[in-house]
Assembly symmetry: none
Homo-oligomer: 254 residues x 2
């Protein structure tokens, strides 16, 4: 059994029983108590539980149903790479906009571990939840219509709220990214929100894995002009790099 499997099972047990006992888990999984303690330690660090003498209890304010069931996360490694690169672009004290892409969730997690005193504005419910316990941060939710399926807030209310702020960096993702058609998304409301984010910042950062290169989706977000930096998970081909140079876009990969 993999460690991560065991941890997930422990989380499952916590959802049922609200608490776990170190000695019981150690018996059940036939690993040493130390291993279980290390598991709980990790879960505590991730904010899921509170340890106590002899065991741990579930943190009720983390809505556990969500992170596991909802996302059919693809290319997790790529997204984590992108997130790691992004932490180097962000400084303590920055103000950021994050969109409601799954990449942005990874970015939020990575930033939480490394940065202090950030101000985040986002329309992603997942990110809001992820950052609820971020000490010293200011986390703002745009309002908006709760859109089934994407865990995002969308619509004109979202745009209006975004327009009330100006941030040093806006980090967005997209469904498609093409020389002729610019940056595109499959959902018009999402596209509009991302557009607004780019309009309210000096530095637009596109965080997008390589599979999106050369793709075009339904709704236009922006031409390439509004993008300052592209962060991706693999080195793009020469034609892309030439294009980026032409537009004076900095491109970063691991």
């Amino acid at each position: 059994m993999l460690a991560i499997e065991r941890r997930n099972e422990i989380l499952g047990k916590l959802q049922n029983d609200k608490r776990v006992i170190v000695s019981e888990l150690s018996d059940y999984y036939e690993v040493s108590e130390e291993t279980i303690r290390r598991d709980l330690e990790k879960l505590e660090k991730d904010g899921y539980v509170t340890k106590s003498y002899g065991g741990a209890i579930l943190n009720e304010n983390i809505n556990l149903e969500m992170p596991f069931n909802v996302r059919k996360n693809t290319n997790v490694v790529g997204k984590q790479r992108i997130a790691a690169l992004l932490t180097e672009l962000v400084n303590d004290g920055d103000s950021l906009m994050l969109d409601s892409s799954s990449t942005a969730v990874f970015i939020a997690k990575a930033l939480k571990e490394t940065k202090r005193n950030l101000t985040i504005i986002t329309n992603s419910i997942e990110i809001i939840i992820e950052l609820f316990d971020a000490q010293e941060w200011r986390v703002l939710s745009t309002g908006g219509l709760a859109q089934e399926g994407s865990f995002a807030l969308v619509g004109p209310q979202t745009d209006q709220m975004l327009s009330a702020y100006h941030v040093s960096k806006a980090i967005i993702s997209c469904k498609g990214f093409d020389i002729h058609n610019g940056i595109t998304d499959s959902n018009e409301l999402h596209a509009r929100n991302k557009q607004t984010m780019l309009n309210r910042t000096e530095q637009g950062i596109l965080a997008v894995d390589k599979s999106k290169f050369g793709k075009t989706a339904f709704a236009l977000i922006s031409r390439l002009d509004n993008i300052s930096i592209i962060v991706t998970d693999e080195k793009p081909e020469e034609k892309w790099l030439r294009l980026f140079e032409e537009y004076r876009i900095k491109c970063i990969w691991p």
Copy 2:
């Protein structure tokens, strides 16, 4: 049973009964009185209770918030009763505002099972998540600052968004409810948001369990004038009913 569980339960009992007795707790949990004293000592150190000879009483300094998991799980039955009563006041197609109280979460759940085609505006992240899959409903999130501990969005942004709408019913809860001091809450930002909700509706509904009657918390939400209906979990005493009559407030209990 883990020590932290016992302490949380004691806090829960304190929320209901306002006081605890050392000897009773010792019997109930089958630990020595010393252990209970040490528990109370810790709770006192954390500011939740004041010890006294033979037991301890809850600090009525309601400004100090209970841990979320304790607050959420107290008087579940009362909250469910209130939620059930409220479904009878709401019609299919209504537009509602719901605040970020734990009672409101129960109300949202009850409505989801019984009503069609509602429009909900709320600043509660829990409710947003709960209603993400509500078919045919329109669920709007107010924006706002994500406030640690309460799972709510607060601040001027929240007010601004609320002010952009007008609904048939606003359903709010509170920490204290008193003849002279009106409806009060421990948190000023929450109080302001609830106030705004009452201003944006024809029918203000106060959903509040009986333990709040006669209490006064720090921040004023509203005088009684703005309330049309009070829904509670037990029949209030005569003096309250007379008061409600005077203000032409309808009061409902199971």
